[in-house]
């Protein structure tokens, strides 16, 4: 396959940056999207041009390190992470525009790499259950209803990649936040801190500059882990309850 790539190049956080066009030949259908970029980088290196910087680590769809807005879709056209997207989703002769996540709360570090530490700070501000090592009771002493445990698990599969923020026209992190609120709120262990958690995590979310949610659903459709929109409803509900009970 032969492709035309339009890739965002930006030397550092303060650089203005621009889309640059590259021609790439010899792309195989079996390559992952990032292997296609590896190939481009090998070509750039031989032409004495600095390779494109992009994030990836596990390359099996679980660590959440990879990102990329591909032709206007977070993680590209399939419901998966960029590292699991394969070139068979594209055609010979395609033009592919590759941009970084765009949100003021995710400042660009270089090229396609952004700083997502805002997510860490949201977790720091209450995204946990306080249980010091050694203080835990016997695991089976508190049963957790199976359906609630399943919902907790389903929402705990969030990989913190930031696609929800990237896809949202408001740059809201409500899906990320709602997923953690729902995960911890569905478990009996999460009850004591339930309302203080939602308040402080949300305050951090707002403080970081993330936008408000307008319930349009772009986030859930971009989520590679298919976290459903109902976690945002849960987030809203818990916040509403926290006004009375918190």
């Amino acid at each position: 396959m032969k492709l035309t790539l339009k890739i965002w190049r930006q030397a550092n956080a303060s650089d203005k940056g621009a889309l640059k066009t590259y021609e790439l030949d010899g792309v195989s259908q079996d390559m992952s999207f990032l292997e296609m970029l590896d190939l481009l980088n090998e070509q750039l290196l031989h032409n004495d041009e600095e390779p494109v910087a992009f994030d990836s680590d596990c390359r099996e769809g679980i660590c959440g390190m990879c990102s990329l807005m591909i032709n206007g879709e977070a993680h590209g056209p399939e419901v998966t992470t960029t590292c699991q997207l394969h070139m068979r989703s594209f055609k010979d002769g395609d033009t592919i525009t590759i941009e970084p996540w765009r949100a003021a709360s995710f400042p660009i570090v270089k090229d396609l790499i952004v700083d997502r530490s805002a997510f860490d700070r949201i977790i720091q501000n209450g995204g946990y259950i306080s249980a010091n090592t050694g203080s835990a009771p016997e695991a089976n002493s508190v049963p957790a209803p199976r359906d609630k445990a399943m919902r907790a698990f389903n929402t705990a599969t969030c990989i913190g990649c930031g696609a929800c923020v990237a896809a949202c026209p408001n740059g809201s992190a409500s899906l990320f936040l709602g997923a953690k609120i729902t995960h911890l709120g569905e478990l009996p262990q999460g009850q004591p801190e339930r309302y203080s958690r939602v308040q402080s995590m949300l305050a951090q979310h707002d403080h970081e500059g993330f936008g408000g949610c307008t319930n349009i659903g772009e986030c859930a459709s971009a989520c590679p882990k298919e976290i459903p929109l109902d976690v945002i409803s849960q987030l809203n509900k818990d916040l509403r309850n926290s006004m009375i009970l918190g």
Partner: protein, 242 residues
């Protein structure tokens, strides 16, 4: 409202000072509007019962609650509630829009919409359009009572709600009919997403099923309200109501 990544953690969080509190305000005020337009639409249908019934209804709105309330008291209470809701609704919309714009200073060169409905993406401009329409609508029927049809600004017409209505939507004033129909389309769009969004914001859609029901509610409210409102200008312009 910071729009850059920070490295500080917020202490002493208050739920009332959050984006969700703004959204709740928006949802609550939105629901006031939904109830209002439903009632307003129902009242408009009195036009089908003829001049007497319609004008009686208009008068009744003013005498409702007497003598507990003064003449026009209910209307003033409603106006205050609606005005308060308007301030809350528009105020939170503006605040949230500013946040959203600050969060994406550099736009995408290419951006696809995958899941969002057209109605959900047009809430802001649609809202502005509706606001402009409401201003005109109030000028036309409440504040100035503008007669756009034949007969000029005579009290026989301006002080007769039914006549004012009929005159507004005569075939010669087809553009006025179009303005109203277009506005009702905008209202339908706004209600379609707004109803669902309010239910979601209030936290009643915690399952896929309840979310689907909320979406249906959005369709129903949009069609009933905008459809109901559109009946009067349509039936007037085609001469059924005269």
């Amino acid at each position: 409202m910071r729009a850059v990544a920070t490295t500080t953690l917020i202490k002493g969080a208050r739920s009332t000072r959050s984006t969700i509190a703004l959204k709740l305000l928006m949802a609550a005020s939105g629901i006031v509007f939904i109830l209002f337009v439903l009632a307003h639409m129902y009242g408009n249908l009195k036009a089908f019962s003829g001049e007497m019934a319609y004008n009686e209804y208009a008068e009744h709105l003013r005498t409702f609650g007497e003598p507990m309330l003064p003449y026009g008291g209910l209307l003033w209470i409603l106006r205050i509630v609606l005005l308060g809701s308007l301030v809350a609704h528009v105020g939170s919309a503006v605040a949230l829009s500013i946040r959203a714009h600050a969060q994406r200073p550099v736009k995408y060169a290419v951006k696809k919409n995958k899941a969002s409905s057209l109605s959900s993406r047009t809430m802001r401009w649609g809202g502005v359009a509706l606001l402009l329409f409401v201003v005109w609508h109030l000028l036309q029927f409440t504040i100035v009572k503008v007669n756009v049809g034949e007969g000029g600004q005579t009290p026989q017409i301006t002080e007769n709600p039914y006549q004012l209505l009929i005159n507004a939507f005569q075939p010669e004033q087809w553009w006025m009919v179009l303005i109203y129909l277009a506005s009702m389309l905008a209202l339908a769009f706004h209600l379609h997403h707004g109803t669902f969004s309010a239910i979601q914001t209030l936290g009643f859609t915690n399952t896929a099923e309840s979310r689907a029901r909320a979406r249906v509610a959005g369709w129903v409210v949009a069609i009933v309200v905008a459809g109901g409102f559109s009946l009067v200008p349509l039936f007037t312009v085609f001469g059924v109501i005269s």
